[in-house]
């Protein structure tokens, strides 16, 4: 049965349905509906809700609940996610599962509460210190948000790694029809690392400190090997009308929606345009994107930022085809008509 829900609330419900029973968070616009929903819902399902004293406290609370073997998550928006970076690095180093929702807003600094995509580098290139990556998932509709957040819990447990959902202020606040479909339980490894008291077994230590350099290198190699497995198995993307496209629009999240709208307008005018939408921003679909753009005349990357994902597009495409960029900053969203204009410029100028 479909219901109309805001992105924030729908994704909170989806997290609960994924079995999340521990939510720790701090108010920050534009994700306050998520935390308010959890405040009401967690007690209903026998879960625990804590409004922590800060975003830093919240991510460390997630570390505790995750180490104890439970599905735990936190949510925030850009400035709060900056605060969480140390905790995320710790959890990556500890190899603990976690789900972190970032409802991205304008930045840098306090910025504003408009939607943005300027946290791509932070999410995909590290954010915190050390050699690690979070799996990064980017929904483009409220329905997809509910599915990806449930996938996030499975991926976090499968790989014992933090997973970031990159939403934005528009997706969080907009209302769309949502259907919560029953899911097949994922095939997950046993949680043989959790802490619950050493009765009947050897005691366990969860840590990321390894004073001996060779030992730390071995630990890092394990993590890197895990990340390579994720790169081989978990890449996701969506293509729309790329087979005969001369220009490929590359975008994710809210930008992708407007790119699809622009594509429809351009197609109606006879322009052959397609959309490549990465869904996993890490691991990034370099190979698939390279293949698609190779068959076209070039790509236009559209982001709500000064240009961050575009650097990964350059890496994917190398110098095979020209890559153009169009972006808006400050909480503004590139409209479909602006994108149409940019594509027309490309067609008239270089092709």
């Amino acid at each position: 049965m479909k219901q109309l829900m805001t992105g924030n609330e729908a994704m909170a419900e989806a997290a609960v349905q994924a079995g999340c029973r521990f939510y720790f968070g701090y108010p920050i616009t534009p994700q306050n509906e998520f935390i308010a929903y959890m405040a009401r819902r967690m007690p209903e399902v026998g879960g625990t809700f804590i409004q922590s004293e800060s975003e830093i406290a919240a991510i460390n609370m997630v570390m505790g609940a995750s180490a104890a073997g439970f599905r735990a998550m936190t949510s925030s928006s850009s400035p709060g996610i900056s605060l969480k970076q140390e905790g995320i690095s710790y959890m990556a180093g500890d190899q603990l599962p976690a789900v972190v929702l970032n409802v991205v807003r304008g930045g840098p600094g306090l910025g504003n509460i408009g939607p943005a995509q300027c946290d791509y580098f932070q999410a995909t290139k590290g954010g915190g210190h050390g050699d690690y990556h979070c799996i990064v998932l980017a929904p483009s509709t409220v329905q997809e948000g509910t599915e990806l957040i449930q996938d996030a819990f499975d991926l976090a447990d499968k790989y014992r790694n933090p997973v970031i959902i990159l939403s934005d202020g528009r997706l969080g606040q907009m209302m769309e029809p949502v259907e919560f479909k029953p899911r097949k339980p994922a095939n997950l490894p046993p949680k043989d690392y959790i802490l619950d008291g050493k009765k009947g077994r050897a005691r366990r230590v969860i840590c990321s400190l390894f004073l001996s350099e060779p030992v730390l290198e071995e630990w890092n190699k394990k993590i890197q090997e895990k990340l390579m497995r994720i790169e081989e198995n978990e890449v996701r993307y969506e293509t729309t009308m790329v087979e005969d496209a001369q220009v490929i629009l590359v975008a994710y999240g809210t930008s992708a929606r407007n790119c699809k709208e622009a594509m429809r307008t351009l197609r109606s005018k006879g322009r052959k345009v397609g959309v490549f939408r990465p869904i996993t921003l890490w691991p990034f679909p370099y190979d698939a994107l390279g293949e698609v753009v190779k068959k076209s005349r070039g790509a236009l990357v559209v982001e709500m930022s000064a240009g961050q994902m575009v650097e990964d597009v350059y890496l994917a495409v190398k110098d095979m085809r020209p890559v153009f960029f169009y972006g808006r900053m400050g909480g503004l969203v590139p409209s479909a008509s602006e994108i149409v204009q940019q594509v027309e410029k490309i067609f008239t100028k270089s092709m």
């Binding site: 701090y26 108010p27 616009t29 935390i35 308010a36 409004q51 004293e53 306090l110």
Partner: protein, 257 residues
């Protein structure tokens, strides 16, 4: 015929974004009058918080910096240590000071930094839409305590003046309120004293202002003032917790007798 109460020079005569009846306007005015009376407008630096008062730089006509959430006392430390002749103050709400910023206020107070903190306590998070604050009362309903704040899950409201009063260094700590005209007069005296002590280089001064949030409490402004008096004051006792200046005067008076 004289105008006895005219618009303070240090306050821009503009409309504010604060909700009608919000205590912030009263606190801003008292600070502006204080800066005028001490003649320090031109050498004052304000540190604005994250919270409803984030835009205080649009209202107070002094140099201002916006601090990260909770970090105003640290930013103020950097300012005052580098510019000791400036009057530096932080203006913080209950989330900024008593949630994310607890470490910063305790350590600035503990170091006896020579700036002033005005702490506006209205037992709720205003800007983000009415979530629980560290000073929210037991059983008080908020966005994140929909059934009322429970001691078991959320603990008790935090009394910041009492906490800071356990430290050796702070020079002056007083809790005031603004829910009647008489109390506003007393609050103004406290704020004036705090800034005067700073001007005289005496040490860390702190005034907690028990205020209101009509919008998120769901009350009319006059009812919110009553609620503040009846419910907040029994928990957040008004009065002077520490006044090393008054102690000093008493001791000196004793000596000269």
């Amino acid at each position: 015929m004289q105008t006895t109460k005219s618009h303070p020079k240090s306050l821009f005569p503009v409309s504010t974004h604060y909700c009608g009846g919000c205590g912030h306007g009263i606190a801003h005015r008292m600070i502006a009058e204080t800066l005028d009376e001490l003649g320090v407008q031109d050498r004052t630096i304000a540190v604005a918080p994250v919270g409803c008062a984030v835009l205080l730089y649009n209202y107070l006509d002094v140099d201002c910096i916006e601090a990260a959430h909770g970090r105003a006392p640290a930013t103020a430390t950097g300012l005052k240590r580098s510019r000791p002749d400036c009057i530096v103050f932080t203006y913080q709400g209950d989330g900024d000071l008593a949630a994310i910023g607890t470490a910063e206020i305790i350590h600035a107070a503990n170091r006896g930094e020579n700036f002033t903190t005005i702490f506006v306590n209205n037992a709720i998070y205003g800007m983000t839409g009415g979530q629980m604050a560290p000073t929210t009362l037991v059983n008080q309903k908020t966005e994140t305590t929909p059934s009322g704040r429970s001691v078991k899950n959320e603990g008790y409201p935090i009394r910041v003046c009492e906490m800071l009063n356990t430290l050796e260094a702070p020079y002056y700590i007083e809790r005031v309120s603004i829910n009647t005209p008489g109390k506003i007069r007393k609050a103004k005296k406290a704020i004036l004293k705090a800034f005067t002590y700073q001007k005289e280089g005496r040490g860390f001064t702190f005034v907690e202002v028990v205020s209101t949030c009509p919008t998120n409490w769901g009350l009319t402004p006059p009812d919110a003032m009553k609620w503040s008096a009846e419910n907040m004051e029994p928990v957040f006792t008004l009065g002077v917790f520490r006044d090393k200046g008054a102690e000093k005067e008493q001791n000196e008076a004793g000596e000269t007798k």
